[in-house]
Symmetry: C2
Subunit: 161 residues, 2 copies
């Protein structure tokens, strides 16, 4: 892979991965993570094939890149994906410190194909109600909610991220 | 594990996992997925230990449950977590069809311990600017953005989710 390949070519690569994946019992999504020095790491959707709800193409590409580079921090890397990333994939990209994301199809194209990305985006909007999946803060004096952070604070060998 | 264990006990279990994980080179986060019939699946944060930006406790617990149950759909399951789930973990829970989430510490406790959950929540709010990580829609006639969905539409053996 030439480092001179441009963004359009990386998007076409992601789209081709997505299309091939449909014929390999996967969902219609593909992605590539490209490092600043032109290394390319691929991902395809394996949710149903692997029984892994988190195995979206973007997450798979990020996990593959981070494992290969032996670094949880992908700063400077660019993510190209066949379809607009859902909130899970965007947040995973944030944690991975991905620098920029390009996508081809959008959440409305995905909705037409039967996927819930658009609904899940609404879940994160300000003042959205969370009836779809209630999230409840449980605070009771019997629950030592700060205990893990206190242990963390006292751990000299911790790796911050 | 008795099916009569109550939510407070599951939260304490998640907190204990989180605390133990600090002493095992992991982050201060733990979670359990509990099935309607009382099966318990554990997860702890292995981001730095595994070089996997997606390896938050909640995601690990969901992956473990889905793999063990051989089902990407965890409808009816409840997620108990030591700390308020970040957007990645919430969105993963949505895709996994988790029915309800309980948490102990909150995003502000996490921020005090040095974690970016609160910042990443803002990224998803309506009208937030996305300077932290720009996301760009690339549309060009040379990029066949609908090709994967067309393949999906024609695939009789596809598994919808």
């Amino acid at each position: 892979m030439s480092v001179h390949t441009n963004g359009q070519d990386y998007l076409s690569m992601a789209i081709n991965l997505a299309t091939e994946n449909v014929h390999n019992a996967g969902g219609p999504f593909g992605a590539v993570v490209v490092t600043p020095d032109g290394q390319v790491f691929e991902g395809v959707n394996r949710v149903t094939a692997s029984n892994d709800p988190s195995a979206h193409a973007e997450v798979v590409a990020i996990r593959t890149a981070a494992a290969a580079l032996e670094n949880f921090d992908l700063s400077g890397c660019v993510l190209y994906t066949s379809c607009e990333p859902c909130p899970m994939c965007l947040a995973t990209s944030l944690w991975a410190r991905i620098s920029k994301v390009y996508y081809a199809a959008d959440r409305h194209d995905a909705a037409k194909a039967g996927f819930d990305d658009a609904v899940f985006y609404e879940y994160f909007e300000e003042n959205s109600n969370r009836a779809l999946m209630p999230v409840q803060h449980f605070r009771d004096e019997a629950v030592e909610h700060l205990k893990p952070f206190e242990a963390w604070d006292h751990m000299d060998t911790r790796i911050d991220y």
